[in-house]
Amino acid sequence: MLALKERNNQAFGFLYDNYAGALYSIIKQIITDNSELASDVLQEVFINIWRKIETYDQTKGRLFTWMLNIARNASIDTLRSKSYQNSQKNQELPDNVYKGVANQTTQQNVDNIGLKKVLETLKPEHRILVELAYFKGFTHEEIAEMMSIPLGTVKTRIRNALLQLREYLK
């Protein structure tokens, strides 16, 4: 860890070899339709990890957790970027954005990898919420609005889903 914070390139290569696959997996679970874009994001994520390594605080969690969140955030940023949205424009009418997301979510069970596999074990109404919150990056408030469910219900359902996830990982 010290070697990393001192920006030791060899230690960084080691870090890459150990975690690139796991992070690439989460990126691909968020950017599902474009492998090339996903590997661009992976590249950006590792460069960011290297730049920000000094801000990592061990008391707040494990290094992998920190990197996983960087990868997730970068992927969601890309998903929401203008250029990506434009490439998707023809697929959904603006009015149907939310419905479209929800449909996509329920239909995307075929080639699920990683955490998405876990989602399949959840009840559909829980699955959609986790999908929207974790893989699409919507806030609980946004989800409550788009699904027309009270905010409290959204929170409870997501918490319950996450507890199920914990059980599954045991």
Binding site: N9, K52, G114
Partner: protein, 273 residues
């Protein structure tokens, strides 16, 4: 607080996976500092999550590693050459999506601003070039005008001076139409000439003015001029004495003695009387 209930609320998973709200995160971190069992439970979930992610890893294309190490290597070199590396401090989970989006917006705005400034600079430079050229043109035109004015003023001074004698040169039989005026100031001995009408000469020939003093002395050279110097007062060489002035055609640059058979014009001064 009942720590067990808190652990069972799903807050740990929510926090670790980046789904907790900012107040929830702050509260969780505060409790973590107080309750070691909470930290232990968090650690347990993190380890499970990490193990699961490792199991489900997808090997990325090999070129990504090459590109990453290249970029990192470049930054290391840049950093070692004195300037400390720029660290963009973004706490990993504090509304990270928004923050990173803001960063992109700022970056995009900076690029636009840079392009805008570049364009303005280019414009200003072009304007400046144009103004400089216009200034040069005006300055040349001013010089020309000033020269003309100076000549006119000088001509006026000579012509109106009471000491100046005007000698009207008339054409000879060789060149009946040739005419010019000599202005001769006998006090200062200055001689001026104004071409009124002299035929144009081949480029290897020039007109030459002579002062005819008396029969014992050869004619004195007063300088050469061209037919094109018309409407302008020409300062010729000085002479104290002259009974008459004569203009001949000589080779370019003048001759030491006049070719009198080619005399174009002759005028007698008052001294001859």
């Amino acid at each position: 607080m009942n720590v067990k209930d808190y652990i069972e609320s799903g807050i740990i998973e929510s926090y670790v996976m980046g789904l907790a709200s900012e107040p929830e995160r702050a509260e969780f971190e505060r409790y973590c500092a107080q309750y070691p069992e909470l930290v232990a439970a968090r650690r347990k979930f993190e380890e499970k999550l990490e193990a699961y992610a490792a199991e489900n890893a997808v090997p990325p294309p090999p070129e990504v590693k090459v590109k990453v190490l290249e970029a990192v290597g470049q930054e290391t070199r840049a950093a070692s050459s004195s300037i400390p590396p720029k660290i963009i401090n973004m706490e990993n989970a504090k509304t990270p999506v928004r923050q990173s989006g803001m960063l992109r917006f700022v970056a995009a705005a900076s690029v636009l601003l840079l392009i805008g400034l570049g364009y303005l600079y280019y414009q200003a430079r072009e304007d400046n070039k144009e103004l400089t050229a216009a200034k040069d043109r005006l300055s040349v035109s001013l010089d020309t005008t000033r020269n003309i004015l100076n000549r006119i003023v000088e001509e006026q001074k000579v012509v109106s001076d009471p000491n100046t004698m005007v000698v009207n040169m008339v054409g000879t039989t060789v060149a009946p139409k040739s005419s010019a005026n000599i202005y001769w100031d006998s006090t200062s001995t200055n001689v001026y000439l104004i071409v009124k009408n002299m035929p144009k000469l081949p480029s290897d020939q020039q007109y030459q003015l002579w002062a005819l003093i008396d029969n014992k002395q050869p004619p004195k050279d007063l300088g050469v001029f061209d037919a094109t110097d018309d409407k302008v007062i020409l300062k010729m060489k000085n002479t104290q004495k002259a009974q008459a002035f004569a203009i001949t055609i000589e080779k370019k640059g003048g001759s030491p003695s006049p070719t009198l058979q080619k005399m174009q014009s002759l005028g007698k001064s008052l001294q001859s009387q």
